[in-house]
């Protein structure tokens, strides 16, 4: 199992704990991640402004991976859906690929259409598998009640992900949490959007969207939220204090990235998983499973 590693632009600066823990658990599970300095913007932020440039940005990254002879593994769901969509379009539409290549050649690149794109968690589910992960658990997370949050772009548009998940009733992240011994809790509007994409357009609306989920997760009595997108992470973890301040409600709800939770169960030291870098303190949670 070897992939070109596409960390995206948000995780490397805003949620280093996500990238750090993903690299640690990948190593432990024999998943080889190859870095490239040539990767740049996936194209998502530009789609609203100019779809042509956005597709060129996606294709450029696919060409970098193709040069390495590897498929792409990303830890950002936005990058996953954007690059997977471009990969599909360019794989099946020869005319479009030719037009894109006309432009790419001017910057010294070409793309033949051979790269697949998968999110890190999908790779854990499909390539490693819940059974193998279960067999490697050193420290069961029994007693923890965890609320999974998939993030829109892990699921949708479902057609670009070969419908490997059900966008209305997703199950892969829950399955990956369950094998670690923790209990997954159901809550209202589980597939609800974090609002992160419009935080810079209207922060009042975006934060209200995030707050809804915090309310629902709290009502279900979860000890923590578990997610897999750095943008969702920034809404629920980094901005949780802002939401609390604006609304006079205290949540104090730890928000962990799945590789951090997985790493704990695999017996990796919490500091190596960057648990000290989470904004909402995770110490009470760690005490609960006596790590």
């Amino acid at each position: 199992m070897k992939y070109a590693f596409f960390p995206g632009c948000l995780a490397p600066v805003m949620s280093r704990q996500f990238e750090l823990s993903a690299r640690k658990v990948a190593k432990k599970l024999g998943l080889q991640l190859v870095d490239s300095e040539d990767f740049a913007c996936c194209g998502f932020p530009i789609k609203s402004v100019d779809q042509e440039t956005a597709l060129l940005l996606s294709a450029r990254n696919l060409s970098v991976a193709e040069e390495l002879g590897l498929d792409i593994c990303t830890i950002c769901t936005g990058c996953a859906s954007t690059l997977a969509e471009a990969s599909r379009e360019l794989m099946h539409n020869d005319g479009l690929r030719d037009r894109v290549n006309e432009r790419l050649q001017k910057i010294g690149r070409t793309y033949e259409g051979n790269v697949e794109v998968k999110h890190f968690v999908r790779i854990l589910y499909e390539d490693v598998g819940p059974e193998k992960i279960e067999s490697q658990v050193k420290k069961s997370l029994e007693g923890l009640k965890l609320a999974s949050h998939y993030g829109c772009h892990y699921l949708k548009p479902s057609e670009v992900f070969d419908k490997f998940e059900d966008p209305e009733f997703p199950r892969t992240l829950d399955a990956l949490i369950s094998v670690l011994g923790a209990e997954t809790v159901e809550y209202e509007d589980k597939t609800g959007c974090c609002g992160g994409v419009i935080l810079d357009v209207d922060d009042k609306i975006a934060l209200a969207m995030a707050q809804k989920k915090l309310d629902h997760v709290n009502a279900a009595g979860a000890d923590a939220m578990v997610l897999m997108c750095p943008l969702c992470g920034s809404m629920y973890d980094r901005n949780q204090k802002v939401i609390e301040r604006r609304s006079n409600v205290v949540y104090n709800l730890p928000v962990l990235f799945y590789p951090q939770v997985l790493g704990l169960a695999l017996g990796i030291d919490p500091k190596e998983l960057g648990l000290n870098l989470n904004r909402v303190k995770t110490s009470d949670l760690l005490n609960k499973v006596s790590v």
Binding site: P12, D35, C41, S48, D50, L57, K106, K156, C193, V201
Partner: protein, 143 residues
């Protein structure tokens, strides 16, 4: 467009749940009716959070987020661009990615044993010149 105005998009829209002024069903209707200027100059087209819930549920297979993207692309061509999106263009064009990487970030990464991140990408700068997006970013927030 095959839209028959059932409103399924509105019912599942997480933005509309908070702010009723955002009305994807109405935006689609106005578009079908050809109300070009009113749609392209409206603030609301910029509020789609791209969650794709509407697209998954639309009984007529209308790709609503793609319609929103197409409308926003047209709006940009007509000189309407929301300031936050002009900022996105500027950032991606200059450094190859949306979130700036500072020296401090790279120092922190080094401490954690993470690889250093480049602060610019020449190929992205070239691409922006090829498609003319660099002009938009140098216009400091568009029009």
């Amino acid at each position: 467009m095959r839209c028959f105005q059932c409103g399924t998009c509105n019912v599942g829209c997480p933005v509309r749940e908070i702010e009723e002024k955002y009305n994807p069903r109405k935006i689609i209707r106005m578009t079908v009716l050809g109300m070009r200027d009113r749609v392209l100059s409206s603030d609301f087209i910029w509020l789609c959070s791209a969650c794709y819930t509407c697209q998954e549920r639309c009984p007529q297979d209308v790709r609503i987020p793609e319609v929103m993207n197409a409308l926003k692309n047209l709006a940009v061509k007509e000189g309407y661009i929301h300031s936050s999106f002009a900022k996105r263009v500027e950032l991606v064009g200059a450094q190859g990615k949306l979130f700036p990487v500072s020296k401090f970030d790279n120092t922190k990464r080094k401490e954690l044993g993470l690889p250093q991140i480049p602060t610019e990408n020449k190929e992205v700068q070239e691409l922006f010149k090829l498609t003319g997006l660099n002009k938009l970013s140098s216009a400091e927030g568009g029009e």
